[in-house]
Symmetry: C2
Subunit: 236 residues, 2 copies
Amino acid sequence: MCQLLGMNCNVPTDICFSFEGFSARGGKTDEHRDGWGIAFFEGLGCRTFLDVKPSIASPIAEVVRRYPIHSTHVIAHIRKATQGEIALENCHPFQRELWGRYWVFAHNGNLANFDPQPVEFYQAVGQTDSEKAFCLILNTLRAAFPDGKPALENLYPVLRTITHTIAQQGVFNYLLSDGDYFFAHCSTKLCYIVRQAPFAAAHLIDQDVTVDFQELTKPSDRVAIIATIPLTDNEA
Amino acid sequence: MCQLLGMNCNVPTDICFSFEGFSARGGKTDEHRDGWGIAFFEGLGCRTFLDVKPSIASPIAEVVRRYPIHSTHVIAHIRKATQGEIALENCHPFQRELWGRYWVFAHNGNLANFDPQPVEFYQAVGQTDSEKAFCLILNTLRAAFPDGKPALENLYPVLRTITHTIAQQGVFNYLLSDGDYFFAHCSTKLCYIVRQAPFAAAHLIDQDVTVDFQELTKPSDRVAIIATIPLTDNEA
């Protein structure tokens, strides 16, 4: 299995603190050594960092831990391979363009015997069940709304239906975003915290690091963190 | 305008030497300060690094200069904005998936009044003429070969025709690859060198750095470097 980390904020925020703890699980405090990735939306743009090295040993992960990239929508993943070899094309998050926006997806779980046919517009490049599920979601959304991106209340029921269909194949926790919407689906394990005023100090589980968010935030800031397993030991 | 750098090799090779000189043109030895990007194919996978900072000042470019990523197909770009603001979504190279492969594109030039209609499957996310041209190329290839990736001799005439059509709009030097094929189109300025045995030392123009490739290569190695302006001053 794998682990997910997501962040959704009302103002661009860096994820250095959370990623410090999360990336330790890629080979130091946990066993997710088979690659990692993180995608940052910045306006319409999106940049994704991927590496097949364990996140704890990756020079690129070191840059992500140290270089504050400010973003409102972030999706990260550390991999313990189930389907598909350890290879760059099997590292999450996956990215495609739909309706003139980038869409990014990462999955925790395992979908047994998942091989949707026919293959439509979006095709998987790698061998994971996860990328196939992402392509099926996008193919479904595109078919339902061929003329462009719909309003959330129209998109949501279609996404929910295809999500429940795929979830019948196995464990299907995922994060999905286009830099505007941010969807999280929990089939077995996913938790979240919303940090907002009054801010307090937070202490990581995986590294002995504490950050006092009161010193770093404005009263109107609001940050949601979504993770497979909590990253801090002094927050609810 | 912008500058392009491409590398195509018969064995995975790092681009650290060439990128050292190339990235200096992003704010030190030349004026291409409006963002940069580089895409590396590794097997079926592809990873793209993008930054709106000048490549000379970008912490991510620093990692690319220092951390040897071995790849057979590399496309890099430093930007001097003509169309589209300085923003992540306007940084090259652009990436899309077609026929279950990632395709990557970077452009040097300017296509005046270029706004292809109707918008088909692939849509630009940013505002550049370059990304619109890339989408038009992929839409054309997809329409011509809906059943999957064709052989090179079938693909090439279609690519050549759409390239010449687009090139009527202005300067259209580009690099395009899916990690298997590697296409370079020169409308005004693009040069190349093929390094092969017997290897010799090469000295950068933009930095006082020399590498003796004889010490780093095997006799069967073959590396093509393609660039807007030569990167070395002692090679033909």
